[in-house]
């Protein structure tokens, strides 16, 4: 219990400290601490299961929903393809196919899409997308296509 409280306090003060900083890319240490803190403390809903069944129709629904709201920052492939500012944000937009994202549980991914991750650029989408759409996006995240295979989001190509 004490350990958890201390961790929360430690990570929170770090966040407050960092919030006042210039938007430089985070250092390796910061990334390691924040990744740990997010997985273990900040991102809830670890045990909730995806109610949708893992099939082609579900993944295709997720791909569709993802293309409307998420693709602006994450690219159509979830790997930032064609997103001009992806590595100029602080923290940079992560590849959703990467280990840091894929090691979240389905429930945690749902939570992140619902509530966003403060103070990163990730916004919450609760009510902007329906629960069903969000769960289908979680499904899509588990079946992301080859990086670059879907081209660039239309908004950046004309």
């Amino acid at each position: 219990m004490l350990r958890t409280i201390l961790s929360i306090l430690g990570a929170s003060s770090l966040v407050v400290l960092l919030a006042g900083c210039k938007a430089d890319p985070p250092g390796k240490g910061e990334v390691a601490i924040m990744t740990w803190a997010k997985h273990k403390i900040f991102v809830h809903n670890k045990s909730q299961r995806n109610p949708l069944s893992d099939n082609a129709a579900g993944v295709s629904d997720g791909k569709e929903a993802f293309s409307h709201y998420c693709a602006a920052c994450h690219g159509l492939d979830g790997q930032n393809t064609g997103v001009p500012f992806a590595d100029r944000m602080s923290p940079p937009v992560p590849s959703l196919a990467g280990k840091d994202v894929q090691t979240y549980t389905d429930g945690q991914l749902k939570w992140i899409i619902d509530y966003g991750i403060w103070p990163s650029g990730m916004p919450g989408s609760k009510n902007t997308l329906s629960d069903d759409e969000i769960w289908s996006i979680v499904l899509y995240l588990r079946h992301l296509p080859q990086a670059g295979s879907l081209g660039e989001p239309e908004m950046y190509t004309h």
Partner: protein, 140 residues
């Protein structure tokens, strides 16, 4: 002696027999179809016109937002957009229609299951898109 009566008519070959039967069967079927045709026409005419329900979609709600339908009664849902592009999808019922900006589209279906079904807007339309629903109550 028998030869004096000229050539006797050739006996029916088995192939010809089958052909004759086939022809008869065809004629019988054709006749039956012709006789039954008015009944089909009558049946089609007797089917009631689907119940027409007009729904307006406007960011971020459908109006009306709840509809009660009778099981087995054909419905024509006429969806009109009052602003941007929208859609309605009832995943459980496997039906969907999309409607362009300011346009109208139709969705014909017959509810076969009793229950409550929540349809969602199926075209991303902005910040309240996720909460834009139309509820169908299907009763006996």
């Amino acid at each position: 002696m028998g030869e004096a009566h000229g050539t006797p008519p050739p006996p029916h070959s088995p192939v010809e027999d089958v052909r004759m039967k086939f022809k008869f069967a065809w004629s019988a079927m054709l006749a039956a179809l012709l006789l039954a045709a008015p009944m089909f026409v009558q049946a089609a005419a007797a089917q009631p016109a689907p119940r027409r329900i007009e729904v307006t979609a406007k960011r971020f709600a459908f109006s009306p937002s709840e509809i009660t339908l009778k099981k087995g009664e054909p419905v024509l849902l006429v969806l009109t957009s009052a602003d941007v592009a929208h859609g309605i999808r009832f995943k459980e019922l496997g039906i969907e229609t999309k409607v362009g900006k300011g346009q109208t589209s139709e969705l014909a279906f017959t509810p076969e299951k009793v229950g409550t079904f929540v349809g969602h807007c199926s075209v991303f339309c902005g910040s309240g898109h996720g909460g834009m629903t139309l509820t169908l109550h299907v009763v006996e």
